[in-house]
Subunit: 397 residues, 2 copies
DNA sequence: TGGATAAATTCACGGCGTCAACAAAACCCG
DNA sequence: CGGGTTTTGTTGACGCCGTGAATTTATCCA
C-alpha cells in the first residue's frame, strides 16, 4: 500500500485506520480486545470503539463473550468472522488447473484441483474447464453463506499491466487477454478479478506462511517448475517491477561455453535440462527423486551442477536487489536437500557482502499449490486495505 | 514516501496535503496560481487558500505581483522562495571530494570541489579536508541568508542502515561510522544528516534531470567509475534494497573461462581491466578516449568487449528487476558512443521480453558530480515531504 | 456603466481523532 | 459483605480539516 500522490481527505484517513484495526484483529494470535487494538495501533480507545463498531456492522468482525482478566473489567474479545467472505485463487499451470477459496483469516474453505497435461493446450478449452471447476468451488462457498470478495488467476508467464498474457512458453500460449478468456459468470459475478504471474503469487503465499515469525519478511522466492521464475519480496511486499514481470531468473546468464555461447540458468537447472543431465531425458520428476534417494552418481552430479548454477544466478539477484534470503520453491523444494549445499557454497563464494549479511537458503513453506494460495491472498489484501469500500460494494449488490 | 503502518491523524493529512501543494509549486514550469494548485492537486480552492497561506508563513513559498489573464480576476502567481533554504550534498570519491549546495528549486547555489587521489587515504584526514570545504560552502550559503535544511554524504561503498560504511574498496576504507567521522560543526549544526551510496544518489540526480519529461521515470542507472555500481529506480524512487546496497552490478557473473572460473562484470569493464585490455594499463581515462577518437583498434575492441559484458549484466538486471531503460553514467557516459551499440545488441539478444518492451540504453543527463547533486536532492525531498516539520524545526532554532 | 468571467476568500457544515470524564464489571481485602 | 482498586468500554466537548456554496475582488469587454 503506497501513499497516494493525491489529496488526502478524512474518508481516506478513516479507511486507513479502519484497515489498520482490521489487520490487528486478523493477525493477532489470540482474540484481542478493543483496548488492545488501541494499544497496538496507537489510536485512542475512543477512536477504536467507533472503528470496531463499523467493522462489526460490515460483518467482518464479531464480538465473543467477555472474558475475565486478572484485574479490572472483563474484555470483549474480537475475532474475524470466518464465514463472511471468501477469496478465490485460480491457477492454470503446466500439469494441473484448480481453484481454491480462503476466508478472511486465510483458512482454506474449499478447493478443487484437476491434473492434466496442458502443454500446447487450447486456451479456450482450458478456460472452459477452469470455469467448471470455479463454478463448483463457488457453489460450495455460497452454500455456506459466504460472500465472494474477488478472485485472482495465476498463470505461468509474462502478464502485463492490462492483464494480457504476453507469453507462457510452457503452455504454448501467447498474447491472450486472460480476463476475456474466462466466461462472464466467473469473472462478472466477482467484484474484483485480476490476473498475475504464478511466481509472484507463490511468493505472496510464502509471505503468508512466514507471518507468524516475521511480519515483514524479505527474500527472493525461486519457483522451480518446468521453467524457472521467481519474485523479490521486500518487507512483506512482492515487487513485480515496471511491467509486472520481474524475477525471471531463468534467463540470467550463469556462464559461457568456450565458443562464447552464453549459458542461462534454465539451460542447466530447468526441468528438461536437469532430467537430461541426470541421464533421464523426458522422465518425470519422481524418477529423479528416486535416483537421488538411491545415490545415483549421475543424478547427484546433475543436481549439484544445477545448484551451482542456481547459486550463480542468485548471486546476481543478491548484488542487484540486495536480498539476504533465497527461498527455494516448486520442484526445487523437493530437491532442497541435494540442491541447497551447492547453492549456499556459490553464494558464499560470490556475494561481496556475504561477510556481513550472508545469503541464507531455505525451503519454501507455502506448501502445495502456492500460487493458488497467494492468488487468494492478494484478494484478501485488497479487501483488508479498504474495508469501507468493501462494505459499500456489498450493500450495492 | 510510503504509507505509514501507523494511525493517521488530521495532522498527518495536513502534512500530506501541504507537501502535495508545495510539490506542485516547485515542479511547475511556470508560476502557478492558487486556482491552478487546486486543479492540479484535486483539493478544493478553499483548502488551497489555507494551505498556501501556511506555506507562505513558513517562508517556503512567495507571492508575485498579480498578472492579468485573458478573462476574469488576475491570478496571484506562487513561486518557491529561492534563498530560503539550502541543502548540502557532500561526496568523497576516489579522485575528488567536494560539497554542493542547492536551493529548494534544485538550483545550484554554491559549490567547491577538490581533486586529489584518495586511494588508500586516511579517513580521519580526508574527513578533516571535507569539513574545511563544507565550512566554506556553509559560510557562502549563510552569507546569502539561507537556512541549511540538512546534508547527505555520498560514499563509494556499501553503507548499511545505521550509516556505517562497511567497505569502500577503492578508497581502502572499512567499517567506519561515517557520521562520527565528520566533525560536529558539520553534522551537528545541520538538522538532518545522512550517508548513502554514491550510485544510489547519482541515480537520484538522474531522476531530477529527467523530471521535465517524465514525472516518475523508471530505469537502471549504471555508475561506471573505478568499480561499477548502479541503482534501480522505479517510478521516480530509488530502490536501495534490504540493507541499502542493491545495484552492485559490478559483481554480476557475465561468463566463465574454460577452466570453470567465473568472470564478473568488473573483470571486463572495470576501469583497470578496461585500460589493460586496451593496451594502456594504469593510464588515465582521457588516454583511452583519445585512442578511441583516433580509431585505435585495440581500444575499440576492449570497449566493445566491455559493452557486451555490460549488456549481459544488464540483461540480468532486466530479468530480475524488470526495467526497460538502462542509463549509463560516470565514465560510461563518456564512452557512451562506443559502448552503447554492443550493450543494446546484447540486450536485444538476451532479454526475453525485448519484443514487447525493448530495453533502451541512454546516456546519463545528470552532469558532473551527480552523486553530490543527488545527495542534496534527498535532503530537499525530506523537506518537501514534511514542510510542517521543517517550519517547526526552524522555529525552534 | 453594466455584464461576464474567473480568482480568491469566507463561513457553515459534517467527519474524525483526542482528551478527559464517566460508567461498567470484575477482583481484593478488611 | 461492602468499599477500594483496576481495567475496559463509552460518551461528549473540542479542535482540526476539507467541502461546497455563497460572496467578494479584480479585470476585460461591449
Amino acid at each position: 500500500m503506497s501513499a497516494p500522490v493525491a489529496p488526502v481527505r478524512q474518508d481516506w484517513m478513516r479507511e486507513h485506520n479502519l484497515s489498520l484495526a482490521l489487520l490487528v484483529v486478523l493477525r493477532a494470535a489470540e482474540p484481542v480486545s478493543r483496548a488492545q487494538v488501541a494499544a497496538l495501533t496507537g489510536l485512542s480507545r475512543a477512536a477504536v470503539t467507533n472503528i470496531v463498531d463499523r467493522l462489526v456492522e460490515t460483518g467482518l468482525v464479531r464480538e465473543l463473550a467477555p472474558v475475565a482478566l486478572p484485574r479490572g473489567r472483563p474484555a470483549v474479545p474480537l475475532v474475524p468472522v470466518r464465514g463472511a467472505v471468501a477469496a478465490l485463487g485460480l491457477e492454470v499451470n503446466v500439469d494441473y488447473l484448480g481453484v481454491r477459496a480462503f476466508d478472511l483469516t486465510g483458512e482454506l474453505v474449499a478447493e478443487q484441483v484437476v491434473h492434466a497435461d496442458l502443454r500446447g493446450s487450447d486456451p479456450q478449452e482450458v478456460a472452459a474447464r477452469l470455469a467448471e471447476v470455479a463454478a463448483e468451488v463457488r457453489a460450495a462457498v455460497l452454500a455456506q453463506g459466504s460472500q465472494i470478495a474477488g478472485g485472482t488467476l495465476a498463470l505461468p508467464g509474462l502478464i502485463d499491466s492490462s492483464s494480457v498474457l504476453r507469453t507462457a512458453p510452457n503452455l504454448g500460449w501467447r498474447d491472450l487477454d486472460a480476463l476475456q478468456l474466462l466466461p462472464a459468470e466467473v469473472v462478472g459475478g466477482v467484484v474484483g478479478f485480476t490476473v498475475a504471474n504464478e511466481a509472484d503469487l507463490a511468493a505472496r503465499a510464502e509471505v503468508r506462511a512466514r507471518l507468524h515469525e516475521n511480519e515483514k519478511p524479505s527474500f527472493f522466492y525461486v519457483s522451480g517448475e518446468i521453467g524457472i521464475g521467481g519474485a523479490r519480496v521486500l518487507a512483506g511486499e512482492v515487487n513485480a517491477g515496471r511491467h509486472g514481470w520481474a524475477g525471471e531468473i531463468g534467463h540470467v546468464v550463469v556462464g559461457s561455453t568456450p565458443g562464447a555461447g552464453l549459458i542461462r540458468l534454465e539451460d542447466v537447472a530447468g526441468q528438461h535440462a536437469l532430467l537430461a543431465a541426470a541421464g533421464r531425458p523426458g522422465a518425470a520428476l519422481t524418477e529423479l527423486l528416486a535416483a537421488l534417494e538411491s545415490a545415483d552418481a549421475q543424478a547427484l552430479a546433475a543436481v549439484g551442477e544445477a545448484g551451482r548454477a542456481l547459486g550463480i544466478a542468485l548471486s546476481a539477484v543478491a548484488h542487484i536487489s540486495d536480498v539476504d534470503e533465497a527461498v527455494l520453491g516448486g520442484t526445487f523444494a523437493s530437491l532442497f536437500d541435494v540442491l541447497a549445499g551447492p547453492v549456499e557454497q556459490a553464494l558464499a563464494e560470490l556475494v561481496v557482502f556475504s561477510d556481513w549479511a550472508p545469503v541464507r537458503v531455505s525451503r519454501a513453506r507455502a506448501g502445495d499449490y502456492a500460487a493458488m494460495t497467494g492468488a487468494a491472498c492478494t484478494v484478501i489484501d485488497r479487501l483488508v486495505a479498504s474495508p469501507a469500500l468493501w462494505s459499500l460494494a456489498r450493500s450495492r449488490s
